[in-house]
Symmetry: C2
Subunit: 324 residues, 2 copies
């Protein structure tokens, strides 16, 4: 059981990462207005958020630039146009997927870019690619995190090998990523214990990125924090792929470090996030995501169900579990 003192006091080492533009961008093809992004930046500053992830460094040779907003590609110049001048208290992050980013070309040395942190995202079978990207980003002067995705569907022995390989790189923080939103807090506790074992041995930090398929994104995030995980991802109104993420406003309401402020988060939700919802952008917990979460499956079928405006949840569930 976690201790009362952990709940009443706080750890200085906690870091909050706003992933609204990045994970939320998966919902609306990264079509955020400049005004929205600037308001988000100011909100994060006032709320004491430590990092703002503004999107992906996606490879233009793979993804059609016409199909997405600019936060899918996050050109250094485009980001500067919207967010300069910046404030040192809020660092900027960008995500780069193994195999979907031309990192040698598109990630410039840190002193030439607006970014402080490169977040490498990898599946367990792509670790050598992730190692290469971590080393490249470190050489270019960045802080580097690595998100090991979809671990609820990976073999624990594979995860151990992956952690061992990643810990031998200069990566700063390794993330527990519940891509399918399939994990219960008890499992998060055990996984955190495993990651912390490596973190302590190699001097790394651990992070948590949760999804809300089971209505447990917030619960799993604070479970992980109680287990010693220092980095926590959240998004305003929980905006993110499918069932969405841990809501920033809940996380800020939970954290006891007085640098974190709930009020600006609620202000942003009640103005900007409410408007997105009213404009028809759809994300968040619903029964189709519960179904894929309980099945420990990628939510793509549930996302398609949502996009098609279907309401026949039972038929969806049958499609999911009835295989020939």
């Amino acid at each position: 059981m976690k201790e009362l003192k952990n709940l009443m006091g706080f750890r200085e080492s906690i870091r909050v990462v706003d992933a609204t533009l990045r994970d939320g961008g998966l919902v609306n093809e990264f079509r955020f207005s400049d005004e929205f992004v600037r308001a988000l930046y100011q909100t994060n500053l006032r709320a004491g958020v430590d990092y703002m992830e503004v999107g992906y460094k996606a490879d233009r040779d793979i993804f059609d630039v016409e199909q997405y907003g600019k936060w899918k590609f996050c050109d250094d110049e485009e980001v500067r146009k919207v967010l300069d001048p910046r404030d040192d208290r809020l660092k900027l992050a960008v995500m780069a997927d193994v195999g979907r980013c031309n990192f040698r070309r598109d990630i410039r040395p840190k002193d030439e870019s607006p970014f402080d942190l490169i977040r490498v995202a990898t599946y367990a079978h792509q670790i050598p690619g992730a190692v290469e990207m971590v080393e490249d980003a470190k050489e270019k002067g960045y802080e580097v995190t690595c998100n090991l995705m979809a671990i609820s569907a990976a073999q624990e022995s594979d995860v151990r090998v992956a952690l061992e390989m990643l810990c031998r790189t200069p990566v700063d923080t390794l993330y527990i990523v519940d891509s399918f939103g399939a994990l219960f807090p008890e499992q998060i506790a055990r996984i955190a214990e495993l990651y912390m074992e490596f973190a302590e041995k190699y001097g790394k930090k651990i992070g948590i990125h949760a999804h809300n398929n089971l209505q447990l994104a917030f619960a799993n995030t604070i479970e992980a924090i109680g287990d010693g995980v220092d980095w926590a991802d959240a998004t305003y109104a929980g905006m993110g792929r499918g069932a969405g993420n841990c809501p920033m406003e809940n996380l800020l309401g939970f954290l006891r470090n007085p640098k974190y402020e709930f009020y600006p988060a609620l202000q942003f939700c009640s103005s900007q996030m409410l408007k997105l919802k009213e404009d028809g952008v759809k994300w968040g917990y619903d029964w189709q995501y519960l179904a894929t979460g309980l099945q420990n499956e990628h939510p793509r079928s549930a996302i398609a169900f949502t996009k098609a405006d279907r309401r026949d949840y039972l038929e969806f569930y049958r499609e999911l579990v009835v295989h020939d």
Copy 2:
């Protein structure tokens, strides 16, 4: 940390209570159609639910019968008209509030009533009234539980005294009730430890009734189960006062005892509960409930905000925290 074996295996002693009509009734003035109630009963049977709470035994001298559906009063005859014949595998429960129920008149001996279980609900300052009702119900032949409400706002020393007094009655099960939806899982763990201490000493069972103000109703329920709490309340689609309760479909998806079935729950949600939502019955997590939950306040102001169709969340929060 709770053990893997608890998650993969199951405890035979777990009991699931469907509180849809009772806590959900607080949302729609207990106006459920007979067809809805019968479908709910059949769903609970198929899903392996152990108890179905059908409403309140409210005092007609206090509450206007014109203002509510019949599940507010749960006359034995009215309940029989809708639910006979019954099946022994699914027991019927009814709630009686201290000070709002004429229990001597309205609760008949068990062999004359359709009910198996009387659920006495009390605040910490009403314990002598609760003791009287527990003893009366036991004498009449019922199983009896006692819900000690709003404990997040009670002094721990008062809770100890209340538990001591209630444990000396013949009550079977004592409930942890987070009426304000203000508790985090770490707090649930500590409260469960306190209740379990009394339970072990006096041979009682412990139950959990959670609210979803912080998006933690499901998380707090499974936290409590992991801590040794055997009785868990849930409602379909989480229907209940304000932010609602632990969703039955999530709980059934979590429990590993093969007697509990997820499929009938989803079927009921996608037919009956979806219809209620589409008809405009409003409940469930939203920012106004997060605000009262974080403030550890009764959600009545948030419920009024919801009923008034207000969307000015920030102004609501100001009203909540700015006092002269």
